[in-house]
């Protein structure tokens, strides 16, 4: 019987090949990249994105796909900034999703703001005389 006292135990992880761990998250990220690319192109076709924005976002998403498929291409960066843990990847992913959502909300908000302006303008132009009196009464 070996004497275990004073010894530190490290838990043993199941011996799956390392690549199996990565594969699932790679699929997730690649799926998301595909989705994002599809949406970006769709928005460009609908005329909501300019060509330059399409290029920018495509480069961004494709870069993400490359990094996902070849994770070692980022290892030098990870070592430089001092991150190397898998959990960080989740955080990065969350940031990317948030960034994408903020971008969408920004676009929509700008559009709504401008639509309100168009309505206010139309009302102002139609009621040049009598409407103006009414609007003034409301404020005073």
């Amino acid at each position: 019987m070996p004497d275990w006292r004073g010894k530190i135990f490290y838990p043993r992880y199941p011996r799956y090949p390392r690549s199996t761990y990565m594969l699932l998250i790679q699929i997730f990220i690649l799926g998301f990249v595909a989705f994002a690319l599809w949406r970006t192109v769709g928005r460009f076709r609908a005329g909501e994105l300019k060509r330059s924005a399409l290029a920018l976002w495509s480069v961004f998403w494709v870069a993400l796909a490359v990094v996902t498929l070849l994770p070692h291409s980022t290892s030098w960066l990870a070592s430089v900034v001092g991150v190397g843990r898998g959990v960080d990847v989740v955080i990065y992913l969350a940031i990317i999703v948030l960034f994408y959502l903020v971008f969408r909300i920004f676009l929509r908000l700008e559009k709504i703001e401008h639509d309100i302006t168009l309505v206010v303008r139309e009302m102002g132009l139609r009621g040049v005389e009598e409407g103006a009196e009414g609007a003034e009464d409301m404020h005073v």
């Binding site: 703001e113 206010v120 303008r121 009302m123 102002g124 609007a135 003034e136 404020h139």
Partner: protein, 222 residues
């Protein structure tokens, strides 16, 4: 040639009346856009003799200029001048900034406040330079006073003008429009009037930062 002055006004009840009266002998029509003011702006402007278009909500400088230009184009005007309601412009400059358009030498004229340098406070001059630089970096055209409120448009330019920015970014957006449509630009020195009142209006430091941020976002994302 018929000249219409467009005066965007937000809570400028103190000055808009005298601004309109100073413009009366120099232009054929005055459109004051009351941008949802809570004070007597609309009444003062109407009493002084302007046509008033009221926004029921405050929509910002760009929105007000857009409305004023639309109202001016309804009539058969030839030249549209934008003129600030806070009294910082001198109505006598109207003649000078409309001249290049009358002569057919320009599609748009911007009144430049920086030419008589000593007239402008240092803080404003620095802010103005930053505005110019940012406008240049984002839209690729250097103008000597990108944030000036005194401009003249030919009818054709006004019809082509498409304003998407509702707030203070409009000044830089107009610079983008110059480049986009290939308008011929003339810059004419004007005489700004810096009173304590007009200094308290316009863009303060924080609003200027916000404007810069919005411009940057727009350029990057749209």
């Amino acid at each position: 040639m018929k000249v219409t002055a467009v005066v965007p006004a937000y809570n400028e009840g103190r000055t808009v009346g005298s601004v309109v009266r100073s413009l009366l002998p120099l232009v054929q029509e005055i459109v004051v856009v009351d941008d949802g003011s809570a004070d007597r702006t609309a009444r003062e402007a109407r009493t002084a003799g302007a046509r008033v278009v009221s926004h029921m909500l405050n929509r910002g400088l760009g929105a007000a200029i857009g409305t004023g230009v639309a109202a001016a184009l309804d009539d058969d005007t030839d030249i549209i001048v934008t003129f600030d309601a806070d009294g910082q412009h001198d109505a006598k400059d109207i003649e000078r900034i409309t001249a290049p358009i009358r002569e057919g030498a320009a599609d748009i004229v911007i009144g430049v406040r920086t030419l008589d340098r000593h007239l402008m406070p240092v803080s404003r001059r620095a802010a103005n330079w930053i505005g110019n630089a940012l406008t240049f970096v984002l839209f690729g055209k250097w103008v000597r006073d990108s944030q000036s409120g005194l401009r003249a448009f030919s009818r054709q330019a006004a019809e082509e003008l498409e304003i998407k920015c509702d707030r203070m970014e409009v000044s830089s957006e107009i610079v983008r429009e110059i480049r986009h449509h290939g308008w011929r630009l003339t810059e004419v020195p004007i005489r700004p009037v810096y009173t304590d009142y007009s200094m308290s209006k316009g863009q303060g430091f924080i609003v200027g930062l916000k404007t810069a941020g919005k411009l940057l976002l727009r350029r990057l994302m749209m």
